[in-house]
């Protein structure tokens, strides 16, 4: 109950700080706790600089990422969604990234069917030692999303 109230208030209030305009698209990254999250931390400790459009949601493993999270992200106005975890063979939980990869391969087709421009979803492997790769992936993905038409084509976005 309480959650709903909060939600309502939030939407009424709006957030003047949130980057919501078309030229500054909101990107959401679902990352695993062990590889990519640490890779992103490493970019920080190495003081690398990258685009600030991304918001990271940490999960234990890419295997925990429900495809519906991606749908939800688009529904809530994200212009791009990134999924990133440990390299094949390096999963902290042995095989979570394989489950994720397989799910993603199938789900991608469905997303396309639902009108999502597949350029807006990205899947990558970034290890804890690849701070530079995190920076490159985020920058490239942001640039790609910025180059796409502001109006999205999927069925989730409120038109």
């Amino acid at each position: 109950m309480e959650g709903k109230d909060v939600e309502k208030e939030k939407q009424e209030e709006g957030s003047e700080l949130s980057a919501g305009n078309q030229s500054e698209p909101r990107l959401i990254a679902f990352v695993c706790n062990w590889c990519t999250y640490n890779g992103a931390d490493l970019a920080g400790t190495s003081r690398m600089k990258y685009s600030d459009n991304v918001r990271v949601i940490k999960l234990p493993c890419t295997g925990r990422i429900d495809p519906l999270f991606i749908v939800e992200a688009f529904k809530k106005g994200a212009k791009g969604v990134l999924v990133s975890g440990c390299h094949p063979g390096d999963c902290h939980y042995t095989s979570g990234n394989y489950h994720s990869r397989r799910k993603y391969a199938t789900f991608r087709d469905l997303l396309g069917y639902l009108g999502v421009d597949l350029n807006r979803v990205e899947f990558s492997w970034i290890s804890a030692s690849e701070g530079n790769k995190w920076v490159a992936v985020i920058n490239e993905f942001t640039d790609k999303i910025k180059s796409l038409p502001a109006q999205t084509t999927d069925i989730f976005t409120k038109k």
Binding site: G3, I28, A43, D90, C91
Partner: protein, 660 residues
């Protein structure tokens, strides 16, 4: 009603320099449910933690959000502080506004906006946190060590000396591993068997160590504190308790030709019933049924049994399966040498006098096939000139492996020294890429090989080796002088690259631990948790983890042992409570969760009524095995399973909080 406290850390200027922390605090105060929002210079300092505790107490907080550094830095610090005020530790969430905001962005306004977003996300998450209790698992205080090389023996002895029972399993007929194959050891030139055999004997006689040689791990199940192990004790065809190791049997065996000795790396023959080497521990022969005439000729030959005094040879003995329950495991499976016959230019496998470094050790060893006199394999003559080639297979991403084998620089210098000591007036040449001699006394040792023992070091590669009139002609480059070199050698010794032990990947899969693309077992953290595998309760030691020398292997064995003794010093093992949880009311027992679980943590549970009638079957999570990865959550069609700490509603709330 949620009563959330938000604490914004400045981290000096680390955060406050790029993020407007006051703005973050003001935004936090506006969020419904947030009853307190403060900013402070250093939240992790003692006064910072005290202020956190005071607010928890004064405002009676139900949840805490710290907008600060990465959760991997101080999540535990703040959880501990919260626990002291009676808050469940999992009611503390961290918004990472340092590593993922202030250090990576420059525009203050935009960085602040991002920091606010991350803070809001965590407020939404913490509102939906449920208390999580850590799980306690009982411990079977007994350890299993797999592999009886120096690392495994060291681990076993240390654990046993700590008063804990150890089961030491070795695949070969004797413990001792690779180290017992060596002649002398760098940098002190003390004889390997002189320092190794006492340890082997100690391990065999230790009241706390149960030794299974000629045995392999058949199956592993269970989890930390409670591993169920099946060991296949391959039959030696010898009744071990009666055998005295007198040697009559192997002396009587007619199969003394055509079977190559594995221990001497094919440089000599062994009999069908044999001990791999005279100082074997235990000194009990094994009968190799694949070559024994008794089995080949339908039971006609039994010369060994005729010669045996106590009549302890029994041709009908079968493999035994032994079951044990242990609380912790050390994997120290060691290494193999690469097959370098793919380097046609070196002629390994084609020319008898081109040998590997380990074969040369056997030629140097007093217990080896030549009894310590260096004789070349082709004609038994003592070589006067030897060429050593370094980095054969290692540091070669094209044909071999990209990594460095670490021990070769040192053992080649040792070989050059020992050769000079044993064959006076001899000459050795070493082709190298770089010299890596970084431990105590190592650099001096290599210098000694050059300066005192006259080894000529040539920086460059060998391009071709061919036989000519009983000599091996070695053609190579000396890149420092820029000249081509041609050396007529009597023998060539290749410093062959090392590989993880064959089959260690299979074992790793059985244990559920990870290994790298070469097959080396990977540690939980390469720097900070070097003795632990990725699976709780399983530890690593020795070359199984990657190239290392004897001192490092001993250290790693001791490290694994101390980890196990530490683990066993408590009565129970505590597991983080962020694990999967089944809603039994909605579970439909499809067991899709079981199929995706990498830890076999999910089992069938039958729910019965008072009279014992089956009501329904549901999935059940074993808290000792579950790691909380969450793969099962997405496999569940009926949404009946969730991972504590990362519940669906929490993640949806996080996404919602980012709505634009």
């Amino acid at each position: 009603m949620a009563r959330i406290g938000v604490f914004v850390c400045w981290c000096g200027s680390n955060i406050a320099g790029t993020v407007d922390v006051e703005k973050v605090r003001e935004e936090a105060a506006k969020i419904p449910g947030v009853v307190s929002a403060v900013d402070y210079k250093y939240m992790c300092s003692d006064p910072g933690q005290n202020s956190l505790r005071n607010v928890i107490k004064e405002k009676n907080l139900t949840g805490v959000v710290l907008a600060a550094c990465s959760p991997h830095m101080h999540e535990n610090t703040f959880r501990k502080a919260a626990v002291k005020e009676g808050l469940n530790p999992y009611f503390v969430e961290i918004a990472n506004i340092r590593e993922q905001v202030s250090w990576v962005h420059e525009d203050k306004e935009r960085a602040t906006a991002k920091a606010v977003d991350l803070m809001k996300m965590m407020v939404e998450k913490v509102k939906r946190d449920r208390p999580i209790e850590d799980v306690r698992v009982p411990l079977n205080k007994k350890a299993l060590v797999i592999g009886g090389g120096i690392a495994g023996i060291q681990a076993a002895l240390d654990i046993a000396n700590g008063g804990v029972e150890v089961i030491l399993v070795e695949k070969e007929p004797s413990i001792g591993g690779r180290m017992i194959q060596l002649d002398e050891t760098f940098p002190t030139l003390d004889c390997s068997s002189c320092i190794m055999t006492p340890k082997m004997v100690e391990a065999n006689q230790h009241p706390n160590i149960k030794l299974y040689t000629y045995s392999e791990i058949e199956d592993v199940s269970g989890y930390i504190g409670n591993f169920k192990i099946k060991i296949r004790k391959k039959t030696k065809s010898v009744v071990e308790k009666d055998c005295t190791g007198c040697g009559e049997c192997w002396n009587a065996c007619p199969m003394h030709k055509n079977v190559k000795s594995e221990f001497n790396l094919n440089l000599s023959e062994r009999t069908a019933i044999y001990v791999p080497f005279p100082q074997a521990v235990p000194l009990i022969p094994v009968l190799d049924r694949s070559v024994c005439l008794h089995y080949k000729k339908g039971g006609k030959c039994q010369k060994c049994l005729d010669a045996c005094g106590p009549k302890c040879i029994d041709f009908s003995l079968q493999d035994e399966i032994i079951e044990e329950t242990v609380g912790a495991i050390v994997a120290s499976t060691g290494y193999d040498l690469m097959d370098t016959s793919m380097y046609g230019e070196y002629g390994y496998g084609k020319f008898k006098d081109v040998v590997s470094g380990l074969q040369f050790e056997r030629l140097l060893s007093a217990s080896g096939p030549t009894e310590g006199v260096i004789k070349r394999p082709s004609d038994g003559k003592t070589p006067q000139t030897i060429v050593f080639v370094q980095c054969v297979g290692s540091r070669d991403p094209e044909k071999g492996v990209p990594y460095c084998s670490k021990v070769c620089c040192m053992y080649t210098a040792k070989h050059a020294k020992l050769f000079a000591h044993k064959v006076h007036g001899s000459q050795s040449y070493v082709f190298y890429i770089d010299i890596r001699s970084t431990s105590k006394g190592y650099e001096e040792f290599v210098r000694g090989a050059m300066e005192q023992d006259g080894a000529v070091y040539l920086r460059g590669r060998v391009s071709k080796i061919y036989e000519d009139d009983g000599k091996l002609i070695v053609k190579g480059a000396d890149t420092l002088s820029g000249n081509q070199v041609e050396i007529a050698a009597d023998m060539v010794v290749l410093a062959t690259g090392v590989l993880p032990k064959k089959g260690s990947d299979k074992l790793a899969q059985m244990l559920g631990i990870s290994y790298d693309k070469y097959g080396f077992l990977t540690e939980s953290h390469p720097k900070l948790r070097p003795a632990e595998s990725s699976t709780a309760g399983i530890f690593l030691a020795g070359m199984a983890q990657g190239p290392r020398d004897i001192p490092e292997s001993v250290v790693s064995g001791s490290a694994a042992a101390s980890k196990i003794l530490g683990l066993f010093s408590k009565s129970e093992y505590e597991v983080e409570g962020t694990i999967a949880n089944v809603n039994e009311a909605t579970c439909v027992a499809c067991f899709y969760c079981q199929r995706v679980c990498a830890y076999s943590a999910i089992s069938r549970k039958e729910i019965k009524d008072r009279s014992g009638k089956l009501i329904k079957v549901v999935a059940n999570v074993n808290p000792g095995l579950c790691t909380g990865c969450g793969a099962c959550v997405n496999a569940c069609f009926s949404k009946s399973i969730d991972v504590k700490g990362f519940m669906d509603d929490q993640i949806y709330a996080e996404i919602k909080s980012l709505a634009v």
